[in-house]
């Protein structure tokens, strides 16, 4: 459905171009939940912004149903069939208006099915009395859930969520992820997050982004089974969970910056890592590591 082909993108600052994304290839099929996982500053939000067409690509293309979204005719149609939920939920609501007002605006002031709205609110653990509260009276988590509920009301073809689970407590995260599972029947979902736990509970396929490049992708079960990139391995080892509370953290800093994107913090780096690394695929499980499978034995 959505295809990103060889995308290069970045920002202009004082007429100077900073490239952030390099050679991104990915796709989202119908009725599928796809996750983008990466640390802070890896380019998750930039990738999402390029996909929805907020910033231009310097090279490459984004295709929706086979048509480029960067042409004027297709873009209007594309933005009508997709809904994007921002990371910062406060800017999506009018602060001094009630939630009821905001939902009415969503339906162009026509009458709407109040019971359906309330059923979605119930699923996200929101009380119906919230409809009469102003956006400034809501707590951060509640406001976030209201914005997500409003996105779900429109039944979009493609739902793009930028860090949806930050600020949600565990019970509403669980309800929210269960709702996404239900949405999967009639639309596709693209989620970007830095939370391993939430993504691997729900996603069918996961792309792992680091330093503006995709370094690993595959089905969630394949990645859970074995990791081909040292970064992903570290990601799964250092998860703040109750069962991991006695694991010691070993920080790695190699002071090397050429070649592989992860060379500076990689415990398994070598001379060969300083060259250009190509992307390889084995059984639909792609990875960008020249030392695979050699580094797997280094640990023993």
């Amino acid at each position: 459905m959505l295809q990103v082909a060889g995308l290069y993108s970045g920002y202009y600052h004082n007429r100077e171009y900073t490239e952030i994304l390099r050679n991104i290839n990915m796709h989202v099929d119908e009725n599928e939940i796809v996750g983008i996982l990466g640390p802070n500053g890896s380019g998750k939000s930039t990738l999402i912004k390029s996909i929805i067409g907020d910033i231009y690509a310097s090279r490459g293309d984004v295709l929706y149903n086979g048509k480029s979204i960067y042409s004027k005719n297709n873009y209007h149609e594309y933005r009508n069939s997709l809904i994007y939920v921002k990371q910062d939920s406060f800017n999506s609501l009018k602060p001094l208006k009630t939630v009821n007002f905001q939902i009415g605006k969503l339906y162009n002031w026509k009458s709407f099915d109040k019971q359906y709205v309330e059923s979605i609110f119930m699923e996200l653990n929101l009380k119906p009395e919230i409809l009469n509260m102003k956006a400034t009276q809501l707590s951060d988590g509640m406001r976030h859930r209201v914005v997500i509920a409003m996105a779900l009301l429109k039944n979009p073809e493609l739902l793009v969520l930028d860090e949806p689970t930050t600020g949600l407590d565990s019970i509403s995260t669980h309800h929210f992820l269960s709702i996404l599972k239900g949405i999967k029947k009639h639309s596709s979902v693209l989620i970007s997050s830095n939370d391993v736990n939430a993504l691997f509970e729900i996603c069918d396929r996961v792309y792992i982004l680091y330093g503006g490049q995709i370094i690993e992708d595959g089905k969630y079960s394949a990645i859970l089974e074995s990791r081909f990139q040292p970064y992903t391995e570290m990601l799964f080892r250092y998860i703040p969970l109750y069962s991991n509370r006695n694991i010691e953290y070993i920080s790695v800093n190699n002071n090397k910056y050429n070649g592989c994107v992860f060379i500076n913090n990689c415990p398994f780096h070598d001379q060969v890592c300083e060259s250009e690394i190509t992307y390889e695929t084995i059984n639909d499980h792609g990875f960008r590591c020249i030392r695979y499978p050699g580094w797997k034995n280094d640990r023993a």
Binding site: D169, S170, S172, D195, A198, P240
Partner: protein
């Protein structure tokens, strides 16, 4: 040690035109925060975690009840420090990291070498970051800087109100491991909505719901044998990559 005795906080909500009703954000909270351990507070959003943190640290004085800091009602200026949820509002975006550190050192009458040491402790290289402007730092780096600044006057207590919400999991793991070392010298109150992180770092957990502390106990006891039904639900639904919905 911080002792709370019957803390109440109420807001007035408009229920209908010309009619108001009381809404208790905090309802009769009495508890003790002990020295030299990490006390974790968790609960759903809107349960009053941030309100409680504001009252403990003295930012909010509009409450009824009594707080005793080491047995006395008055607290020393450097007794308690607060790290905010949003690091962007506590920093000046057009000043450098060096400016923030040196100003904090000057206010607290500490030498700048000692102050920059705290930044190194928090996991940021002072020599590499000193000339960086704050608006060019990422959210996680800003939050590390905020923690370092709060450490400069050597406080007895630090309140961390979702202070690490913008970090990715590896950075978070590193900084939470650092907090475990820090508790030998400072007592910490760690507030987070995610029970995974709270149980990872803290020794004693308080569970809040609707403005009340419904359960408090040592971490092992809470995680393995929760008494309250709500706590059980929080643990059952906590996100875990090994569970599949």
């Amino acid at each position: 040690m911080i002792e709370l005795k019957g803390i109440k906080k109420q807001y007035k909500l408009k229920s209908s035109p010309l009619k108001y009703r009381d809404y208790y954000a905090l309802d009769n909270i009495s508890t003790i925060f002990r020295d030299n351990i990490i006390s974790g507070i968790t609960g759903s959003s809107g349960s009053g975690k941030t309100t409680l943190a504001n009252i403990i640290s003295g930012y909010d004085r509009d409450y009824s009840g009594e707080i005793l800091y080491d047995g006395s009602r008055e607290k020393d200026q450097n007794f308690i420090r607060y790290v905010f949820q949003d690091p962007y509002i506590s920093m000046n975006p057009v000043k450098t990291v060096e400016w923030h550190i040196s100003t904090a050192a000057e206010i607290n009458h500490v030498k700048i070498e000692k102050a920059s040491e705290k930044l190194e402790m928090a996991g940021m290289d002072y020599s590499a970051f000193r000339s960086r402007y704050v608006n060019s730092l990422s959210g996680g780096e800003l939050q590390k800087l905020a923690l370092a600044i709060s450490l400069i006057p050597d406080p007895n207590f630090i309140v961390l109100d979702e202070a690490f919400s913008m970090m990715d999991s590896i950075n978070l793991f590193a900084i939470l491991t650092f907090l475990k070392e820090l508790k030998k010298t400072v007592s910490l109150i760690y507030i987070d909505h995610d029970i995974n992180r709270v149980s990872f770092v803290s020794d004693y957990i308080y569970i809040m719901n609707c403005g009340k502390i419904i359960e408090e106990n040592y971490t092992e006891k809470i995680m393995e044998d929760p008494e309250d039904e709500y706590t059980g639900e929080l643990i059952k639904y906590s996100p875990d990559y090994r569970k599949r919905i």
